[in-house]
């Protein structure tokens, strides 16, 4: 008989150990999965976790790692602030798209003027676009008490249609021979978000992600505002007692996470992607939700979780290519990671007792 006994004080050790144990458990269970598919499990794990970092083509993949991790971390850092407060912005994907449209829109409107101020202005506009898109669910929640979960999610589909309209309509490259999609910003010097250090993949979005991690850490763990956000998530009545204005909290959280998601979209469209196209968004906004939880909603945890998630994406692609593993097997593998994490998470708040005395 196994009983769970609630810990009076949450275990600090386990809150750090859980992700590591979860990764190990994922490797073991994933190994069985790959073995069942007739692949060598050790090799599969190596291809996913080792080769992108230290394998024969690692130089290329390491750059990809930062490119993929940066938007995840940037978005997740913002989302985590809201999640801590119990405000569930599920629509980062939409805010990401709108940020990209707004920022790229500015560049496409002034093309081909060159100015050092263009890129910073694009970043500001991208953040503003995401912020305003995030404000819609916030205002609806405050005025009509709607669920920000549903509204922010629905707005993703609105944003996607807006994106398609832009790609086929107003933002279509006039010199694109009728192909959908905008001009490529990579070829527009003032608007381009370049690789800052050759071979690392580090563009301005990577810098922004690092700044976001540090800033949200200070906000959540050193500043009174972050403390109140955490109180609001733990005990809403206590937060009100402490002087938190619930409406303002909703606004701040959704605007912050929206702005960071919008910025991530701008960095992507001006950098690695280059173009406003129909399928420009690739699910970073949704994956960031997993990253936020994988990182225990803690900025440093999110940094590590973003890198890990990016690694499984790149490694997963490689495994598909080199071992002919089905894409679904990789997705199951990634799902296992979240599954084990949430499973082992119980140990932070509960102790396990095995054996007698379990039943009263």
């Amino acid at each position: 008989m196994i009983t769970l006994i609630k810990r009076p004080t949450p275990s600090k050790t386990w809150s750090w150990a859980t992700p590591i144990v979860a990764i190990l458990a994922t490797m073991i269970a994933g190994g069985f999965l790959f073995a069942a598919l007739g692949k060598n499990p050790v090799e599969a794990i190596r291809v996913i976790f080792w080769d992108p970092l230290f394998g024969p083509n690692a130089a290329y993949f390491r750059g990809q790692l930062l490119v993929k991790a940066a938007p995840l971390i940037l978005i997740a850092a913002g989302l985590a602030v809201g999640f801590r407060a119990g405000i569930w912005n599920i629509g980062a994907e939409g805010q990401y798209i709108i940020g990209a449209i707004c920022g790229a829109g500015l560049a496409l409107a002034v093309y081909p003027a060159e100015s050092v101020w263009l890129f910073p202005a694009m970043v500001v506009l991208g953040a503003l676009g995401g912020l305003l898109w995030g404000m819609i669910p916030a205002l609806l929640k405050i005025w009509f008490n709607t669920s920000e979960i549903l509204v922010s999610l629905m707005l993703v589909y609105v944003a996607q249609n807006l994106l398609a309209y832009m790609a086929f309509g107003p933002m279509k490259n006039p010199q694109g021979f009728g192909f959908p999609g905008s001009r490529n910003l990579q070829q527009y010097a003032s608007a381009h978000n370049p690789e800052l250090i050759a071979g690392t993949g580090a563009h301005w979005g990577v810098m922004a992600a690092i700044v976001a991690v540090i800033a949200t850490y200070i906000l959540m763990h050193r500043h009174l505002a972050g403390f109140r956000i955490r109180v609001a998530g733990e005990a809403p009545r206590a937060a009100r007692f402490a002087g938190v204005n619930p409406s303002r909290l909703v606004m701040v959280c959704l605007m912050l996470s929206g702005a960071l998601a919008g910025m991530a979209g701008l960095f992507e469209v001006a950098g690695p992607n280059g173009q406003i196209t129909d399928g420009f968004n690739s699910g970073y906004g949704f994956t960031a939700i997993i990253v936020a939880f994988l990182g225990r909603l803690h900025p440093i945890g999110i940094l590590l979780a973003g890198l890990l998630m990016a690694l499984t994406y790149i490694g997963g692609d490689m495994a598909q290519l080199m071992l002919q593993l089905p894409a679904a097997a990789i997705q199951v593998f990634q799902g296992m990671l979240l599954f084990f994490l949430l499973g082992f998470d119980v140990l932070t708040n509960y102790r396990i007792r095995i054996g007698k005395g379990a039943k009263a």
Binding site: V231, A242, G243
Partner: protein, 507 residues
């Protein structure tokens, strides 16, 4: 059955939890028809003991006999089958179901609804507990809900009825009805094991009492033959110090509330209607009344959680009706809500973090918005030391503290900020007698230093002990305050029941 035959005999019952012996060699017995009180401070082992009798907890050692036969219920169902029933302090009722459905849910083999409703009606009239089986529990008062629980027990025709703090939610009039029922049951031969903190009630109702302290039986007595003070001293094991209210003089008017009305906070919640009060420096104003009559709402409007109409709340002439909690704290208006976990404190956060919850403004625990963790920890340690909070240290989560210890922490956190006006709701709810006495004394001392204190409480004895003036809150209306000196319990009962009428008479 002979005269000295015992219904329940307990011999050497022992139960240990890691680190604490909840019950240590406890022995006592109850005769059929006896109303037996179980007295003790919080943590004395009363709950563990009745849980063993009711089959919720298994004793480590010792034996029980029911009607001369060995009795060791492995689970509550077995205890119920043997004729032991229990009414818990916290009701387990579904608000969305009606009375009969709730009763049926607790039965092994419920009869058809129509039959059950008839039985409920029959039992409730027999025992003077009026109850309509078809009404939704959500619409019932606390007293009526308790009747549902009692009727549910009586349907099993119990030989022993265990009641855990049954009067804490009742008005004096409802208490009278309950006692009438219990006396009738006792006359019919049902034994009652009665747990309560309220010593006067025990003196009025019980035939015998067993006193527990630290898990051991320390004494037994016939409550009628003792004074409440003697009973309290037996419980605490020390001479009981009643609050020292000397050395206070009333000063200038600090807080004025005028024509304060507030719509309900929740669908079923009460509203505040034209509440007015005046509070002077050094004054302790006691506000009595059954919970759910606007107590929470009153505290929320005074703490700043709920802003009210301009001009309704004034501090020394200045209108503070529209200010939130922190600006009010800056001006010296502090509050301690009733609900400790989740309102006055954040359960999962440490005591240090909980010190930040209300202490930032007056204790400068943050500089330009950045938290000074060292200062917060020192403030938490100060509260722990000054109010004798039993905890390993300020790093411990609030939920790890016992109710009484957390209450001491919450009150201490506000008192040590030296407020000008302090509003507390149920300051000693669930706190043992010694700790309650020290909390009351700290409130009196605070008033002695020139602060004004509003104590909202259901415990009338407490209010009579420490308050200078008494007012009753009933259905959102506050009666005109009257000096507690010379106020009889009958008059208080009238104020509680008829605050409404008095207000209209005054108009």
């Amino acid at each position: 059955m002979t005269g000295d035959a015992k219904l329940l005999r307990i011999e050497g019952l022992t139960k240990a939890y890691p680190g604490v012996k909840a019950n240590d060699n406890v022995s006592f017995s109850i005769a059929p028809g006896e109303v037996h009180a179980l007295l003790g401070e919080n943590g004395a082992g009363k709950s563990t003991l009745v849980k063993m009798i009711y089959g919720l907890v298994k004793p480590d050692a010792g034996t029980m006999e029911l009607n001369g036969a060995p009795f060791a219920p492995p689970e509550p169902r077995a205890a119920r089958a043997a004729g032991v029933a229990m009414v818990f302090q916290h009701f387990s009722l579904f608000e969305a179901l009606n009375v009969a459905e709730n009763v049926a849910l607790g039965m092994e083999n419920p009869p058809p609804m129509r039959e059950l409703s008839a039985r409920i009606r029959e039992i409730s009239t027999t025992y003077g507990l009026p109850l309509d089986p078809a009404r939704l529990v959500g619409d019932l008062s606390a007293g009526e809900r308790q009747r549902v629980e009692i009727v549910r027990c009586l349907l099993q025709d119990p030989k022993l009825l265990i009641m855990d703090e049954p009067t804490s939610v009742l008005t004096p009039q409802e208490v009278e009805i309950l006692f009438h029922t219990l006396r009738k049951l006792s006359a019919e031969g049902t034994a009652i094991l009665y747990i309560s903190h309220k010593l006067e009630e025990i003196r009025a109702l019980c035939d015998g009492a067993t006193i527990l302290r630290g898990g051991k039986v320390v004494d037994s007595c016939t409550p009628r033959e003792k004074t409440a003070r003697e009973l309290a001293e037996m419980m605490v094991g020390a001479e009981f110090k009643s609050a020292d209210r000397a050395g206070r003089s009333l000063g200038e008017e600090l807080l004025v509330v005028e024509g304060l009305s507030l719509p309900p906070m929740s669908q079923f919640g009460p509203s505040l209607k034209e509440v007015s009060l005046r509070l002077r420096a050094g004054e302790v104003l006691g506000i009595g009344g059954v919970a759910g009559n606007g107590q929470e709402e009153l505290l929320a409007t005074l703490s700043g959680e709920r802003p009210s109409e301009p001009g309704t709340v004034r501090l020394m002439g200045e209108d503070i009706s529209g200010l939130g909690p922190d600006p009010r704290r800056a001006k010296g208006v502090l509050a301690a809500p009733e609900e400790r976990l989740g309102h006055a404190a954040v359960p999962a956060m440490s005591l240090t973090e909980n010190a930040l919850l209300t202490g930032t403004v007056r204790k400068s625990l943050a500089k330009k918005g950045f938290i000074d963790m060292g200062a917060a920890r020192r403030f938490a340690e100060e509260v722990i030391a000054a109010f004798d909070v039993r905890t390993p240290g300020p790093h411990v989560a609030a939920r790890a503290l016992s109710g009484g210890n957390l209450q001491k922490y919450v009150i201490g956190r506000e008192v040590l900020q030296e407020p000008r006006v302090l509003v507390v709701n149920q300051p000693t709810w669930g706190v043992d007698a010694a700790a309650a006495a020290s909390i009351r004394q700290s409130l009196l001392d605070l008033a002695g230093r020139g602060a004004a204190v509003i104590v909202i409480s259901q415990d009338l004895d407490e209010l009579m002990e420490i308050a200078d003036n008494f007012a009753a809150l009933n259905e959102g209306r506050l009666s005109a305050p009257r000096p507690t000196e010379g106020l009889t319990i009958d008059e208080v009962g009238l104020m509680l029941g008829g605050a409404h009428g008095m207000q209209e008479a005054a108009l």
